[in-house]
């Protein structure tokens, strides 16, 4: 069930395909009334399957989610009747909501910024010709190919206090005297989760930026060099501005994936009681199954709030970054 999260977070490839440039505006049908009707009728058979699919996978679950959020469920899952907006009120009044929201902001911003910065460097490296580039490119893809749950589980073993190889290594080379409880110490839990989050976000981000770099024509650099631009100037005045569309695509999609990322936060944090390191997504899950609330209705209400939250964040982001100017 909730495991599908793993797939949805991991399916960067599919969604990236969606991010193809919009068709030019000039192709819009003329505003003639009669012709438009004919066109719509003629288009329906072609649009039909897609519309049915959208209705089935977007609108139906959305409607069900909203309905569930306004229903009263017993702890067993039995529907007891309507709850009005009381589930929303209970979620808003939840004592841990503040912690969870702060965690979510820290998690999304840190993973997004760190992975963009590192990916810029990696993409630059991978765009150069060098011996073994193919191998390195494959190596960068691997964290992306592995299931997030497996990656996260692997990191719980690597970072373990008693047996983890990371602690052993740090002690062996003399950096540490005593092991660090990366996943249990409250100061280290979030940084550890962010490190793993960056690790799995890098491949997708790097490849989007790499594609962006490849799209910058070489003669622009040549012209700059002729005009006497230093490498630094060429980077800040040419590369970064021309990368803007790619950076925007990468950051918008990453905001969505990172925000929705369930497996890493859940798996790395699963021995810790309470909500001290949860994001809104794992909060929603725990409300339904792990916390004493154990309420499907509250969880659904939190789910609706999640959707609204991410929509607002994305819209604001697009507004602020003047998305239209960059992509058209």
């Amino acid at each position: 069930m909730i495991r599908s999260q793993a797939r949805s977070s991991g399916s960067g490839a599919g969604a990236a395909g969606n991010a193809a440039p919009a068709p030019p505006r000039g192709n819009r049908p003329a505003a003639g009334s009669g012709r438009t009707e004919v066109r719509v009728a003629a288009a329906l058979p072609w649009l039909g399957p897609a519309l049915v699919l959208i209705a089935a996978v977007v609108f139906y679950p959305a409607a069900e989610l909203v309905r569930a959020s306004m229903s009263d469920y017993s702890i067993t899952g039995l529907l007891k009747g309507s709850a009005g907006l009381s589930n929303y009120a209970k979620v808003l009044a939840h004592p841990d909501l503040g912690t969870v929201l702060v965690n979510t902001v820290v998690w999304v911003v840190a993973v997004l910024v760190l992975s963009l910065v590192i990916s810029l460097g990696l993409a630059q490296l991978l765009s150069k010709e060098f011996f073994g580039r193919k191998v390195v490119r494959w190596a960068v893809i691997i964290p992306w190919a592995a299931s997030l749950v497996i990656t996260a589980r692997l990191f719980t073993l690597l970072l373990d206090y008693n047996y983890g190889i990371v602690n052993r290594f740090l002690i062996a080379v003399g950096i540490l005297d005593t092991p660090i409880d990366f996943l249990g110490d409250d100061r280290w839990t979030m940084p550890s989760m962010i490190a793993v989050g960056v690790f799995v976000t890098l491949p997708f981000t790097t490849y989007v930026l790499l594609a962006g770099l490849k799209a910058i024509p070489g003669d622009v650099y040549e012209a700059a060099r002729v005009d006497g631009a230093s490498p630094r100037q060429a980077y800040t005045r040419i590369t970064l501005p021309l990368l803007r569309p790619a950076l925007l695509v990468a950051s918008v999609l990453n905001i969505i994936y990172v925000f929705n990322s369930f497996p890493i936060v859940y798996t790395l944090n699963d021995r810790n009681p309470g909500f001290a390191h949860d994001t809104t997504i794992t909060f929603m899950y725990k409300l339904a199954f792990k916390s004493a609330d154990k309420s499907v209705g509250m969880s659904a209400a939190a789910g609706v709030a999640n959707v609204l939250l991410i929509l607002v964040v994305i819209l604001v982001y697009l507004r602020v970054s003047r998305w239209k100017d960059a992509t058209e």
Binding site: N18, G77, L79, Y163, I256, A292, V307, K324
Partner: protein, 419 residues
């Protein structure tokens, strides 16, 4: 582009939120009793072990079909998933006929279940151990039929005890602390006691200590979570970790199966509270020389044993009453129930089972105490929430800045307000 993005966002966000939200449809639970007799019933069973659970139930299904002519559809689900799966089934009005779970009272409260009067033969019911009948009884009627049981005991590492110069397992808490200190003093990362108070099963770890200080979750039908004995017990556990430093790092964030048990299995922990499946693993590894003993008590009185049982509950659905009754008749026949329990390494739930198992010397420690074992208040529907609250909160009490009394007060308030 923008619209597409929004759609993508919505899909991505909804795909997962929707699942957890569930697609509740209709109120579950038929009236039960009436209707055409069914030709097929469904069992959703928890997976105790990869090797044995599915194998047993598939064989059982064949025997059931041969005896009754009714098909038994078996679905084995891991413990990690069974709560959410059963909840989803009931939301979708698709409850199984038989569900195997560690709780039943909330289902009984929602009037979803058959009582033993309806589906259990008298001979079967009279064979069940009385303390399990009691824990399966909600408001005067039995709804939770025990499938198997386990009892906890203190496991200790004989090699480490010998090295530390300890002759016999501790009988009192003072002895326990002293022994744990001696073992910890051996150094090299050795810990005296591996204490799992993390979310996986904190209520079990706390229960066993609580019972051996004369405390309980409920006394005379009233919640007594924050009784003076219980505050004393939790403070003792906190001190073991914080001031005596004889436990592993961060006991409030250590689970049993991936934390405390591995420490004991690798020979790094002197003591741990375990049960028969842990013994089976230790025997198989043959790495750690161990023995079991009754739990030490605060003042050295008679030790209390903590027992656990899981349940097989039957959902009221039209026409399934006879089929369900036949299911129980077959399950509780000694050939079936005891074969299952033996294969899984647990303890019996019937008088005849105790007799049959008593020939095994390894199980003697447990069997002697099984009939007097104390259980958590699974007969109270509020416990189903209190248990979750305990799992998610009690770990905080044993942290260096933890406050045992405050944590227990909060749990008490939660229990009194209906979970």
């Amino acid at each position: 582009m923008l619209k597409r993005l929004i759609a993508t966002t919505a899909v991505a966000a909804l795909a997962l939120t929707a699942c957890s939200g569930g697609t509740g449809a209709g109120t579950a639970g038929g009236s039960g009793g009436g209707g055409e007799p069914v030709k097929k019933i469904k069992l959703v069973a928890a997976e105790y072990s990869k090797d044995n659970t599915a194998a047993f139930w598939n064989k059982f299904a064949a025997a059931y079909k041969a005896k009754t002519g009714i098909d038994l559809d078996v679905q084995v689900v891991s413990w990690d998933d069974i709560d959410q799966q059963s909840s989803t089934m009931i939301q979708n009005n698709a409850a199984p006929d038989i569900l195997n779970l560690n709780a039943y009272a909330s289902y009984a409260k929602d009037s979803l279940l058959y009582s033993s009067d309806e589906v259990l033969s008298d001979s079967v019911k009279s064979d069940l151990l009385p303390n399990f009948v009691q824990s399966g009884t909600y408001q005067g009627k039995m709804y939770g039929m025990p499938d198997l049981s386990s009892a906890r005991a203190l496991f200790y590492n004989k090699d480490l005890f010998a090295k530390a110069g300890i002759a016999a397992p501790p009988k009192t808490w003072d002895e326990f602390t002293a022994d744990a200190k001696k073992i910890t003093a051996l150094g090299d990362g050795t810990v005296g006691y591996a204490m799992p108070l993390g979310p996986e099963e904190a209520q079990a770890e706390f229960s066993i200590w609580m019972f051996n200080n004369g405390g309980n979750w409920k006394t005379d039908d009233k919640w007594t979570i924050n009784s003076p004995q219980n505050v004393d017990t939790l403070t003792f556990l906190k001190n073991l970790s914080v001031t005596d430093k004889v436990t592993q790092n961060n006991p409030g964030k250590t689970d049993r199966t991936d934390g405390a048990f591995p420490l004991f299995q690798s020979g790094r922990a002197g003591m741990v509270v375990g049960f028969s499946p842990l013994a089976a693993t230790l025997d198989k590894d043959a790495k750690v020389q161990y023995a079991t003993a009754p739990m030490p008590t605060k003042a050295g009185g008679a030790p209390a044993t903590y027992g656990v049982t899981d349940y097989l509950m039957a959902f009221k659905k039209p026409g399934n009453q006879d089929a369900v009754k036949a299911f129980y008749d077959l399950y509780y026949s000694p050939d079936q129930v005891n074969t299952f329990i033996k294969a899984e390494g647990f303890l019996p739930v019937t008088e005849s089972g105790v007799k049959q198992f008593s020939s095994d010397p390894k199980l003697k420690t447990y069997l002697d105490t099984l009939t007097g074992a104390k259980l958590t208040p699974t007969d109270d529907p509020n416990w189903d929430r209190v248990k979750l609250a305990v799992q998610q909160n009690i770990g905080a009490a044993v942290a260096p800045n933890g406050d045992p009394k405050a944590v227990l007060d909060k749990l008490q308030a939660q229990a009194e307000s209906g979970g």
